[in-house]
């Protein structure tokens, strides 16, 4: 299978490339990137006026399988990713049962390879059952292809256990992803503590609940020399702590979620269950600090934290709503609308944060369009206008705080291993 992507603006931060070029994909790999490629191909994709980027990689997705298929499963989740222009997703282990052994890692990878629409990487648990008591078999899971380890959904409460996990896994060069939130400090809070929570009477979660947890895990990363990746950074304090740790040479990396850099706690003032998420949507000063952190490299990646729930689970009072909402089908549009078109970030920076950087953190081969790399490509129409209508989404978790949002910019084709899996919003049959 030879696919030629013709005449698009190729943006590949890994090669500092931003030029109108042709890209030839063959047998699942990038074969050639050049000004004018003339060769016999099976299919030509006319990318004139479009951006051709290395496939977008979302390293923070909840696929919910096994056990929680009412919220999402591998098929619906990977369809959503393909539809949103994402070619690789890494799924979190807080499923039922928890992904804490190699059998489940293998099982998900095999099912995803067979039924999935995009690449699926698996994140194994750090502790058995995510209970923060005993280490999970991380080396065994590594051998079966686990990408990284995390107790996402829970903070590894035991400092000792997190230190042991870091020491144990460091020689294998795997990354620990820290869901760094001191939930005890947050108490009964369920939105950001600030002027809005004071006004509307909702118990607040102080931003320092993140700062404290991030501090500890930066300290443990420094002490052990292990690679620690801070998940969904949402507080200005955490940004500063990570900045300082990086300056000291600590092997810490960080991500922030689309909603944390595009929404504030004002969105919660209507008590909409769609706005409940952990960490919570914070105030503008935090949003500004996160964007600054992205700019100066303190925060490496932008993720979706796609966390779908069944509709009936979200159709409840604000306090009773589970945390999280879908994100795979909104991330590209929302980021282009809020960061690119508002001239805060260039398309090169955005491709870096959503493809190249996450690939580098987790040592994935994708995230670039170098010859020989996986033929994963996201093709973007920067000016396509569209409106978020979750009922049209492929995800089962059709709840989003971006409902009704007018977006500018959209992925118009998703190519995985050299095959077009989505074109103009329509999935190709598998």
């Amino acid at each position: 299978m030879k696919l030629l992507i013709k005449g698009g603006r190729v943006v590949d931060p890994s090669q500092k490339l931003d030029a109108v070029m042709d890209v030839l994909l063959e047998d699942g790999l990038v074969k050639e990137v050049a000004k004018e490629i003339k060769t016999k191909v099976d299919e030509t994709f006319d990318a004139k006026g479009l951006v051709v980027a290395p496939g977008f990689i979302d390293v923070h997705t909840h696929l919910r399988e096994p056990g929680l298929e009412a919220k999402e499963d591998i098929v619906s989740g990977t369809k959503a990713a393909a539809s949103g222009g994402i070619t690789t997703i890494a799924c979190m282990p807080n499923t039922k049962p928890i992904i804490d052994n190699s059998i489940i890692v293998s099982g998900i990878k095999e099912r995803a390879a067979r039924e999935g629409y995009v690449n699926v990487e698996v994140i194994g648990a750090i502790s058995k059952g995510e209970e923060s008591k005993e280490l999970a078999e991380m080396i065994d899971m590594t051998e079966k292809g686990a990408m990284a380890f995390s107790d996402d959904g829970h903070y590894v409460k035991s400092s000792r256990l997190f230190t042991m996990a870091a020491k144990y896994i460091a020689p294998f060069d795997k990354v620990l992803i820290s869901h760094a939130i001191d939930h005890e400090l947050g108490g009964e809070g369920y939105m950001h503590e600030g002027a809005v929570s004071a006004r509307i009477g909702v118990p607040g979660i102080p931003a320092i609940s993140e700062d404290i947890a991030v501090s500890r895990d930066c300290i443990i990363a420094e002490y052990t020399g292990a690679k620690v990746h801070i998940a969904h950074v949402a507080s200005k304090g955490a940004v500063e702590i990570i900045r300082q740790a990086k300056a000291r040479g600590v092997k810490v990396t960080a991500e922030t979620a689309v909603h944390h850099i595009t929404l504030t706690d004002e969105a919660c003032a209507s008590y909409s269950p769609a706005t409940r998420v952990s960490p919570p949507l914070r105030s503008q000063d935090h949003v500004d600090a996160l964007r600054e952190g992205l700019k100066d490299g303190t925060i490496d990646a932008i993720v979706t934290d796609h966390a779908p729930h069944a509709p009936e689970e979200k159709d409840v009072e604000f306090r009773n709503a589970p945390c999280g909402f879908c994100g795979l089908e909104t991330s590209v549009g929302v980021i282009l609308t809020e960061l690119f078109h508002k001239k805060l970030f260039t398309i090169n920076e955005i491709v870096d944060k959503m493809s190249t950087a996450p690939a580098n953190i987790f040592a994935l081969k994708s995230g670039n369009l170098k010859v020989g790399s996986p033929a994963d490509v996201t093709i973007i129409d920067l000016d396509k206008e569209w409106i978020v209508e979750s009922m049209q989404f492929y995800t089962k978790g059709k709840v989003t705080p971006f409902e009704g949002k007018k977006c500018k910019g959209k992925a118009v084709a998703t190519i995985v291993a050299g095959e077009i899996v989505m074109r103009d919003g329509v999935l190709c049959t598998k």
Binding site: A198, P203, Y271, V316
Partner: protein, 318 residues
């Protein structure tokens, strides 16, 4: 009865913040007439005859539920009480379905008390009947706000420039949020005091003056609003002991003497005598706590009357 071109017909009453000063005045003026009806020997008028009101209470309540029930009955409406402990809610029925169920029975108004902030707004979004918020978590309790305003007016005080002291558990108090919003809307100067563990972290955003000593809030105050302290707060570590609370933050006669001589004392009830309010203060002449209860029926009559009739049948109650 002053004629007014503002109308609350069909309006959900979720909080006072979203009402205009004119709408607030309309409720307060209507309540004056309602209180006259309450004082009659035969205290029943036909204004809401043929209307049905459902009291849907997800939390225990004596005065709010009873006074809404009497308010409806004095105006001739049929009033049904649902206490969720003996309803389908214990079978796990979600709020949407409960609201849709009572709507299907063609009720005209739902008076709802719920432990979760925003629950009344959620119900209003779902259902057509008028929703009257009778307290949603720590957010709002508009009828309490109206009865307090009514009581303050009745004591001969207007709001402009008055010093209002709200004392105690502001963090968890819908009464505090309601009164802060209402009194500021009417031009008063609102001060709060209490242990800082019981204050929202960003309380200044509400536009109040915060004091760490209750004495400073009480100094020269015209209205003293003492919030109920829930004993669970002590168990969850927000203050060390009822003893220390009473000693440092409780309102006793000595502290009350710091307020203006004609200051009035409000308390939403039920009182913890000897904790946030001393026995003497609870029953002193300045304490308008029983008036608040009585006025609660009048303002609730006004709210039901205005939302369900728009004040159109005003003649029938003259």
């Amino acid at each position: 009865m002053a004629k007014s071109n503002v109308s609350l017909a069909g309006r959900d009453i979720l909080d006072i913040e979203s009402l205009s000063v004119e709408e607030v005045e309309l409720v307060l003026q209507t309540a004056v007439e309602m209180k006259k009806i309450m004082k009659r020997d035969i205290k029943k008028v036909p204004s809401l005859r043929g209307k049905s009101i459902i009291n849907l209470f997800y939390e225990p309540s004596t005065r709010t539920r009873t006074s809404f029930e009497l308010a409806g009955k004095y105006l001739g409406a049929d009033v049904v009480n649902i206490t969720t402990a003996s309803s389908s809610v214990v079978k796990g029925e979600c709020l949407r379905d409960t609201i849709l169920t009572v709507q299907a029975m063609e009720c005209d108004a739902v008076v709802m008390r719920h432990p979760i902030e925003g629950a009344a707004a959620y119900a209003a979004e779902i259902a057509d009947p008028v929703i009257i918020n009778a307290g949603d978590g720590a957010h709002a309790h508009p009828s309490q706000g109206f009865l307090d305003m009514f009581t303050i007016r009745e004591a001969g005080k207007d709001f402009k420039g008055l010093k209002m002291a709200i004392l105690g558990d502001v963090l968890y108090s819908r009464v505090a949020r309601t009164n802060i919003a209402a009194w500021k809307k009417m031009g008063a100067d609102v001060h709060v005091a209490g242990p800082m563990t019981l204050m929202p972290h960003d309380i200044e955003a509400l536009g109040v003056t915060v004091h760490t000593r209750v004495e400073d809030a009480l100094e020269g105050a015209d209205v003293v609003d003492i919030l109920r302290i829930q004993l669970e707060r002590q168990k969850s570590g927000l203050f060390p002991s009822p003893r220390e609370y009473a000693r440092i933050f409780g309102v006793n006669e000595k502290r009350l003497a710091l307020a203006k001589e004609d200051a009035i004392v409000l308390h939403p009830g039920p009182m913890n005598r000897g904790l946030e309010i001393s026995f003497e203060v609870g029953y002193c002449d300045q304490a308008k706590i029983r008036d608040e209860v009585q006025n609660g029926v009048a303002v609730r009559m006004a709210l039901l009357f205005l939302t369900l009739t728009g004040g159109k049948q005003i003649e029938t109650i003259d």
